[in-house]
């Protein structure tokens, strides 16, 4: 179907379902309808997840065929197929599937977390090279104060930081900033949702 013909239909369907869900939230007695539509959405999202997996497979199959660092793509495809088939056979709680998760995926992701800790320490140390502004200085000063207040460092505890500065930052400054940011994010989310609801923003290619 031509894209120009398809877009208004997609927009009409998206806007209609958006308004139906909003209406079922406001008018009592339509919970079943809302749950049914949301179940369809969950089902579609699950299908999209499979399509994402298919996309991952195709990208690495293409790399393997074109010999672009084929060893990594081969390992990924072999691992993906083996895990998929084993989980399909045993279920996600099966012995082999659990072993794969606990002994391969968890250690690999934990290693990445460790790399992240080092990367962030270096990034924080270099922040003033990137941006020499008040906010960066405030960020570094707060980080340093929180580090000192987090507990005894090398067996030395500084009561001024652990009992006064640390709790003050956590309970007042940090909590206030957190709420301010959350208000901004909530308003942004609300405005984005409304733009999609009225069809002014069409993330489905419109």
């Amino acid at each position: 179907m031509n894209l120009r013909n398809r877009t208004p239909i997609a927009a009409a369907v998206a806007i209609s379902f958006g308004f139906i869900i909003l209406a079922t939230l406001l008018i009592p007695g339509f919970d079943d309808l809302r749950n049914r539509i949301l179940n369809w959405t969950i089902l579609l999202a699950a299908v999209a997840l499979l399509l994402g997996l298919a996309n991952l497979f195709m990208v690495h199959f293409h790399k393997l065929r074109n010999r672009e660092k084929p060893i990594y793509s081969f390992i990924l495809l072999a691992g993906l197929l083996a895990t998929f088939l084993i989980t399909l056979w045993e279920g996600s709680q099966g012995i082999t599937a659990s072993w794969i998760f606990n002994n391969i995926q968890v250690p690999v992701e934990t290693s990445l977390m460790a790399v992240l800790a080092i990367s962030l320490t270096i990034a924080a140390a270099r922040i003033l090279q990137q941006r020499k502004d008040v906010m960066s200085i405030a960020f570094l000063a707060t980080l340093f104060a929180l580090l000192l207040s987090s507990g005894p460092l090398f067996g030395i505890e500084i009561p001024f930081f652990t009992h006064a500065v640390g709790p003050y930052i956590n309970n007042f400054l940090s909590a206030g900033a957190l709420r301010g940011l959350l208000i901004g994010v909530s308003l942004g989310t609300l405005a984005t949702g409304l733009r999609i609801l009225i069809g002014a923003d069409r993330p489905y290619g419109g």
């Binding site: 894209l3 997840l49 960020f139 609300l190 405005a191």
Partner: protein, 247 residues
């Protein structure tokens, strides 16, 4: 949902409608300056000129939770970047950690390529799902930044602490990094490690600053007004008990 939530929705809709009408009459009314977007525009133009590639990460948020709004803001960024850089030698690459957002990214790219009249250059591999868990998504995206002569990376979507690996990788290639997330932990990490962080609601202002349309500008102004309304309500609710407790 209670009545107050409905009131906020209606209030926001009214303001969007008002500013859409008012903005048409006052098109020159400027938005406050956000350096991240100015630098992003310059970087896109430079990457087109020098034939290098941009990489856009849409994060791991899906379409079902509250993180979907961040992913939609990322899709707006994608559309605007693509319309500038799609016909360069190295078109932008998109990565996501969710199948549904990948489909929407492919649709956005296809539409932008059609609009530019270069639909023959579009391939499905321009938007990829690189992993379905936070760290596998990052592990799949890192080689794209390190191996493909990426000169700029833009992160727009739902990211947690793992975003730090992407931003530091992009900086190791001396590339420009811009990032925004709806997740507060992710925002802190991006603030520390990206060249240009988008803090708080700035991610949701992407459309207004990247000239995605009048409604984006109107909704940004509506957000600004509503924020002032909330600030006033907070001050009033804090001060009022002082007066009511007086004899």
């Amino acid at each position: 949902m209670n009545l107050s939530a409905l009131q906020w929705i209606v209030l926001c809709l009214v303001f969007i409608g008002f500013f859409s009408f008012w903005g048409r009459k006052n098109p020159r009314r400027a938005l406050r300056s956000i350096p991240a977007f100015q630098q992003l525009r310059r970087t896109i133009e430079l990457s087109v000129e020098d034939g290098s590639r941009m990489q856009i990460s849409l994060g791991r948020g899906g379409i079902l939770g509250p993180e979907s709004a961040a992913a939609f803001a990322g899709l707006t960024l994608l559309r605007q970047v693509t319309e500038i850089a799609a016909d360069s030698d190295q078109p932008p690459l998109v990565t996501t950690g969710d199948g549904a957002i990948m489909l929407l990214a492919q649709d956005t790219l296809r539409h932008s390529y059609n609009k530019l009249g270069i639909s023959d250059q579009y391939t499905l591999r321009l938007a990829q799902t690189t992993g379905l868990t936070p760290f596998s998504y990052i592990a799949g995206t890192l080689p794209m930044i390190l191996d493909r002569h990426v000169s700029a990376s833009a992160l727009g979507g739902s990211f947690g602490a793992e975003a730090g690996l992407l931003t530091t990788a992009a900086q190791s290639t001396a590339g420009f990094t811009l990032g925004g997330s709806e997740n507060l932990g992710g925002q802190a990490i991006i603030f520390a490690s990206a060249d240009q962080p988008l803090i708080g609601e700035e991610l949701f202002a992407t459309g207004a600053y990247m000239e995605a349309g009048a409604t984006h500008q109107a909704s940004l102004r509506a957000q600004d007004v509503l924020r002032w309304v909330i600030i006033l309500l907070l001050i009033i609710s804090s001060v009022l008990p002082l007066f009511t407790s007086l004899p």
